[in-house]
């Protein structure tokens, strides 16, 4: 066990990169190219992030590229970083706090070891520049029955296919919004599942307006367009039906999904009465979008934009000197944009300047991202498919009806007090899964006055739950406090 009194001072590095997805890998490589000494942290025990999630070293395959785009680019990056003495890649490193500095980068605290273990090593880093590349997690809107086993996020199906070679079901429906549904279906097919269909919430009119306007602007992004085209050919080859303007509005079953109801949606994603159809499936993968993982940026003091993503300037600087952000933490735009932003952040963090080619590449993929939002961004009508019995907060099992009644009874417009009354968003996931949906539903029941403190859900004091004993080891005790030391065993430590 580490003794807090003798724990070393934070390690000094030039550039600390948090997150080893496309953005973090790009940042680390670029910062190295500019001569900085780099430490790259990721909580996963492998690098690659969500996009390049892959098989573990015990189960490698020469054909892994069948599940990936840009696989060679990834393996080249990984190889370059792992053989570079000026870059230390620390995997299994869960960053749980960023101690805000005085107008400078934070001290970053991590625990290193098996996920959710009890005797992980604590580390702290004091860097000249910090690049936050923590990515995003998925947003699945609640619907009746979404808490049944057999309902998965799209990313779960992806992660299990790419990292485990497990299919989430035998007959699977893929639903939600956005081009991400396509690779989910493609991975399921390559993992032996039957895909019953893809159901996209946005209607064709909106999709063609979003993607089809001024198509020549997409020309520079043709690799991305080609990637999507490949998925579409795949769907056709496997005769997978694609339906726009519809959504899963309920899942049914006793202890697991046995069927789902799909209904047509109007332009605002309101279900159209009388259009409901049942489909027998044993799994459904639902993804409506992504939410940036901004906890560390917020505790570092970085400002966020209206959509909740971290605000950055043209050189990927956040509002805190020495703190940069890149990739989906700054807005949702796909892996190519993340990689380009990461490279810009890494260069500038190391004191170099990005070249015009790189900036053009970033601009190209930014335009792509704007179209994504125009064509597939979440529309407010979804709250209509939620009934009073629908569980909204999965952890604390708070229903939409309970949320609404609390808002009415307490006449409260404060998200914080409503959360404390209902416990919605206060469970172990800290509102990551339901937070935005809780806000949306409360706004709907509060009417035009709205919430006083919208956006509050992303504020979490800890970026990840850690065990009390591990924190105790990382934070030196306040010796001058007159409180007696606790006599029992410290939680998280073995009893003597």
């Amino acid at each position: 066990m580490a003794d807090p009194a003798t724990d070393p001072a934070p390690e000094r590095v030039d550039v600390l990169v948090v997150g080893a997805g496309p953005a973090g890998l790009g940042a680390a490589r670029a910062a190295r190219a500019a001569g900085a000494r780099v430490v790259l942290l990721d909580s996963s025990d492998q690098v690659g992030g969500q996009y390049w999630r892959h098989l573990p070293p015990e189960r490698t395959s020469a054909r892994e590229s069948t599940l990936h785009h840009g696989w060679e680019r990834f393996t080249a990056l990984r190889e370059a970083l792992s053989t570079d003495e000026g870059c230390r890649v620390v995997t299994g490193a869960q960053v749980w706090a960023a101690d805000r500095g005085d107008d400078g980068p934070p001290v970053v605290h991590a625990v290193v070891g098996p996920a959710d273990g009890t005797d992980r090593t604590t580390r702290a880093y004091a860097a000249t520049s910090v690049v936050l590349a923590t990515g995003a997690h998925e947003r699945t809107l609640p619907f009746p029955g979404w808490d049944l086993p057999g309902v998965f996020s799209g990313g779960a199906a992806q992660a299990l296919a790419k990292g485990e070679r497990v299919a989430v079901g035998r007959r699977v429906l893929v639903a939600g919004a956005g081009p991400f549904l396509l690779p989910v279906a493609a991975s399921l097919v390559r993992t032996g599942a039957g895909v019953a269909g893809i159901v996209e919430a946005s209607r064709w009119g909106r999709i063609t307006r979003g993607w089809g306007t001024r198509p020549w602007e997409l020309l520079p992004a043709r690799t991305k367009v080609g990637e999507l085209g490949g998925y579409l050919r795949d769907l056709a080859a496997h005769r997978i039906p694609y339906r726009a303007g519809a959504g899963v509005v309920a899942a049914h079953g006793r202890d697991r999904v046995e069927s789902v109801t799909v209904a047509d949606l109007d332009a605002d994603w309101r279900p159209v009465p009388g259009t409901e159809r049942r489909h027998d499936v044993d799994a459904v993968c639902v993804s409506h979008g992504f939410v940036p993982r901004v906890e560390l940026a917020l505790s570092s003091g970085c400002a966020t934009a209206d959509d909740g993503s971290v605000r950055v300037d043209d050189e990927q600087r956040t509002t805190v000197p020495g703190v940069f952000a890149a990739g989906e933490v700054t807005g949702i735009g796909g892996a190519d944009l993340s990689l380009a932003e990461g490279e810009v952040a890494g260069l500038v963090a190391a004191g170099a300047l990005p070249g015009p080619g790189l900036l053009r590449r970033r601009a190209t993929y930014r335009a792509f991202a704007a179209r994504l939002h125009a064509a597939h961004g979440i529309r407010p009508g979804w709250t209509q498919w939620v009934d009073d019995t629908t569980i909204v907060c999965r952890c604390e099992e708070v229903s939409a009806g309970e949320l609404r009644r609390s808002a009415e009874l307490t006449c409260s417009r404060g998200l914080r007090s409503l959360k404390l009354t209902t416990r919605a968003g206060l469970g172990i996931c800290q509102g990551r899964t339901c937070g935005r949906s809780v806000e949306d539903l409360l706004e709907r029941s509060l009417g035009p006055a709205g919430l006083l403190d919208r956006g509050r859900v992303s504020r979490r004091p800890l970026a990840a739950p850690v065990r009390m004993g591990e924190i105790a080891r990382a934070v030196p005790p306040l010796v001058h406090l007159a409180t007696p030391a606790p006599s029992g065993p410290v939680p998280g430590e073995e009893s003597p």
Binding site: S44, Q50, P56, R59, T60, S61, R63, E64, T66, L67, A97, D99, P114, A115, D116, G117, T118, H137, E138, D147, P149, G150, F152, S153, G155, A156, A157, Q158, L160, E164, V166, A167, V168, G169, R170, R190, G192, D255, R256, A283, S299, R394, E397, K419, L420, L426, G427, C429, Q430, R432, T433, R460, P461, L462, P465, R467, M468, I471, V475, P491
Partner: protein
Amino acid sequence: MIPRRPGPQAPAARGPAAVPAATDPVRPRESAPLTLLVDGAPVRGVQGQTVAGVLLADGQLSWRRTSRHGKPRGVFCGIGACFDCLVVVNGVRDVRACQRRAQDGDVVERQDDPRGGGTRGGTGPSPAASDDGAGGARG
């Protein structure tokens, strides 16, 4: 109690499944077998799988009951964000099955937490309280 699914010997017509090696276009390298003790029963997997990977490949879809309504839960997000997949591993509670690599001989217990009642499962600590209500360590 959540009914056990039949093992891989008797493939279930429904539910999660590992892609059979013979038909897998990716064909991962064969890795050493491992055995987890899940609520006392051996469940076989291979090195490199997560605990959730072993359970899903065994055809199990859920392995936990919720506190309030006793509803079954398994994997939802698959990336460590939702905490639906919690299990007790070697006596330590609140381990995300989708994030923890399985080790041969790991003792896995279901983590059912009836609210206000006794706790079923191991004795380890809970992750630090960190919500608005409990006044976290930092702000």
